[in-house]
């Protein structure tokens, strides 16, 4: 029994003038919803194309279900892929699109019909109504479902999704996110989901790999990535973050806002301290670090207030429940626990 659906070992890929990904190591477990999250141009789509066999690595090896496939062409890999632009076949109807991979595999007609029906049901498209429809007679969301059904019909060892929700509007995108999660729970296939949208990754994934400039910065559960970012890039890319430059001083840190207690240091002399806006408590003086600040900006978000508070030259974003009220130019005490501050090398 193999534990991993996909394994990448030291995989690098360069295009003529730049290195797209460098020394990628990934172990993706069977049945996992795994996201690759990074800004555009970070190399996440390259990783997906390497797994699909649409690109071959310059270095390193790739295994699918424990089997070495590094240089195996895509049509011999049995992976499913949903492209950003969906790439449905406009000359075929819904049934023929979903049946495509099975037809190519010379699966008997009766079995194809059964499998297509099953897959359309999984993605919540009524086979009776939609089988004979042309692709251009479907809405964006329906096309999305057909693309997913087509990829699932071949019972792939892994389903690769390349920013499939990018072209949908917000409402539909939120709906499709829960749909994807439901489909994944139904079919129990390994999903690898590429996105630049952190909320998509945080909501859907079992684990996330954050990638930047062709290298993996951190792999972890959404909570691990958010609460204990491994690098400054991850801290900045995921969610909101305040950064305060500081220097080691007397077992703690000295910065423009004053002395700061932290729970652990990383050995560097010049550092950056990162604090999430919701970790900053206002009007509370029983904390490890307390400062006098002036409120510069107040934005009412319903359940929360988003504030900007200035301490000397440093402006901090704070998020606080809206049952406390603050006004601009109000003087306030604010602070945070030493445990809530994360220290990175400057």
């Amino acid at each position: 029994m193999v534990e991993f659906a996909v394994e990448l070992d030291g995989v690098s890929k360069s295009y003529s003038n730049f290195e797209a990904v460098r020394d990628i190591r990934l172990r993706i477990r069977k049945g996992e919803f795994f996201s690759i999250l990074g800004p555009s141009g970070s190399g996440k789509t390259t990783i997906l194309r390497l797994i699909a066999g649409l690109l071959f690595p310059d270095k390193g090896s790739i295994r699918l279900m424990g089997e070495e496939v590094t240089l195996v062409p895509p049509y011999k890999r049995n992976v499913g892929m949903v492209f950003q632009e969906l790439a449905l076949f406009p000359h075929l109807n819904v049934f023929e699109n979903v049946a495509y991979g099975l037809k190519v595999r010379k699966v008997p007609e009766g079995e194809i019909r059964k499998k297509v029906k099953e897959c359309l049901e999984i993605v919540n498209l009524d086979p009776e109504t939609y089988s004979r429809r042309k692709i251009n007679q479907l809405s964006g969301g329906q096309q999305q479902r057909v693309a997913i059904a087509r990829a699932l019909a071949i019972e792939p060892s892994v389903l690769l999704l390349d920013e499939p929700l990018g072209s949908l509007d917000l409402k539909l995108r939120q709906h499709m996110m829960s749909e994807l999660k439901r489909i994944q729970k139904t079919v129990k296939t390994t999903f690898i989901y590429v996105t630049h949208d952190q909320s998509e990754a945080l909501i859907m994934s079992d684990r996330i790999a954050v990638i930047n400039k062709g290298s993996i910065e951190q792999i972890g559960t959404p909570a691990e990535i958010y609460e204990t970012p491994a690098t400054k890039f991850v801290a900045e890319f995921i969610g909101e973050m305040n950064f305060i430059p500081a220097e080691v001083y007397n077992g703690g840190l000295m910065s423009e806002i004053g002395y700061m207690k932290v729970s652990k240091l990383n050995g560097a002399k010049r550092v950056v301290v990162a604090i999430r806006p919701e970790k900053i408590k206002l009007g509370c003086s029983e904390l490890d670090n307390v400062y006098n600040a002036v409120i510069e900006e107040v934005a009412y978000l319903g359940g929360f207030l988003s504030l900007k508070a200035r301490i000397n030259g440093i402006c901090l974003k704070c998020l606080t429940p809206s049952d406390l009220r603050f006004e601009e130019n109000q003087k306030v005490e604010l602070g945070w626990r030493a445990d809530d501050a994360i220290v990175f090398e400057a």
């Binding site: 699909a52 066999g53 649409l54 062409p73 895509p74 049509y75 011999k76 890999r77 049995n78 992976v79 499913g80 892929m81 492209f83 950003q84 632009e85 790439a87 449905l88 076949f89 406009p90 000359h91 495509y100 991979g101 190519v104 595999r105 087509r150 990829a151 071949i154």
Partner: protein, 248 residues
């Protein structure tokens, strides 16, 4: 007001195409006698041979153009990247020189090869002249095909050859239909190339020319023209009915 804008071109077509066309029709019927005798005269084995000559030439030209143009159009549309526009200009470049001059130029190439006044010479000249008319519509239809449609077919398990047959070819069908119509129709009536390169290779075009200008038999020449137009019209209508709409 908007309708007025169509008038100049309609008047132009009326004066220089529809009225002459009507005159040709009347000539073919020997107006005002109104007889079909010139039509019966051309329903003769000699003219049948000429029709077959034209048909063979047009079919060979069209098939060769299609086979030669497809890889070129495919490359420009899907593989050329930043060279796309440059290559398209190269395809259109021959149009900058008159059709007649280009055919003369081909003569100077074929003469030393000893190919002049052969069927091969006519086919070479025809393919040379008509190739861009096949490449451009094929390119237009292949360009609309996205790279990911081909890639998704690979990922779904189809080998490159199978992907070509199941995805690329069907999706480029509108271009193939348009290219065939654009090449086959004028090739069937082609007159300049057979006259200049073919010597005695008689086609509908060359015989019509002879009837009008050498023998001054305008009646018979008109009947031949009408018959040719009727054949092409019927062929195209049948073809479009079978292959759906044309896209240029």
């Amino acid at each position: 007001m908007k309708r007025l804008l169509a008038f100049p071109s309609l008047i132009y077509l009326l004066v220089f195409f529809y009225i002459p066309f009507l005159i040709v029709l009347l000539y073919s019927l020997d107006f005002p006698n109104l007889t079909l005798k010139y039509y019966f005269e051309i329903l003769d084995s000699l003219y049948l041979k000429v029709f077959i000559n034209s048909l063979v030439l047009a079919v060979v030209t069209t098939v060769l153009c299609l086979v030669l143009a497809y890889p070129v159009a495919y490359y420009i549309a899907l593989k050329a990247g930043k060279w796309k526009n440059f290559l398209l200009i190269l395809v259109i470049l021959p149009f900058w020189i008159s059709f007649l001059l280009r055919t003369y130029a081909i003569m100077t190439l074929l003469n030393p090869l000893g190919l002049m006044f052969t069927f091969t010479a006519v086919v070479l000249g025809m393919v040379y002249d008509y190739l861009p008319f096949m490449i451009l519509p094929l390119y237009a239809s292949l360009e609309r095909l996205s790279k990911s449609q081909i890639e998704v077919s690979y990922v779904l398990g189809a080998k490159p050859s199978e992907t070509f047959l199941r995805v690329t070819l069907p999706l480029s069908k509108p271009g193939i239909v348009a290219g065939i119509i654009l090449v086959f129709t004028p090739a069937l009536g082609e007159f300049v190339v057979p006259v200049m390169l073919g010597g005695t290779y008689a086609t509908i075009g060359t015989v019509t020319w002879d009837l009008f200008l050498r023998y001054h038999n305008w009646w018979k020449g008109s009947a031949l023209s009408m018959l040719y137009i009727a054949i092409v019209l019927i062929a195209i209508i049948l073809y479009i009915r079978r292959s759906g709409r044309i896209e240029l």
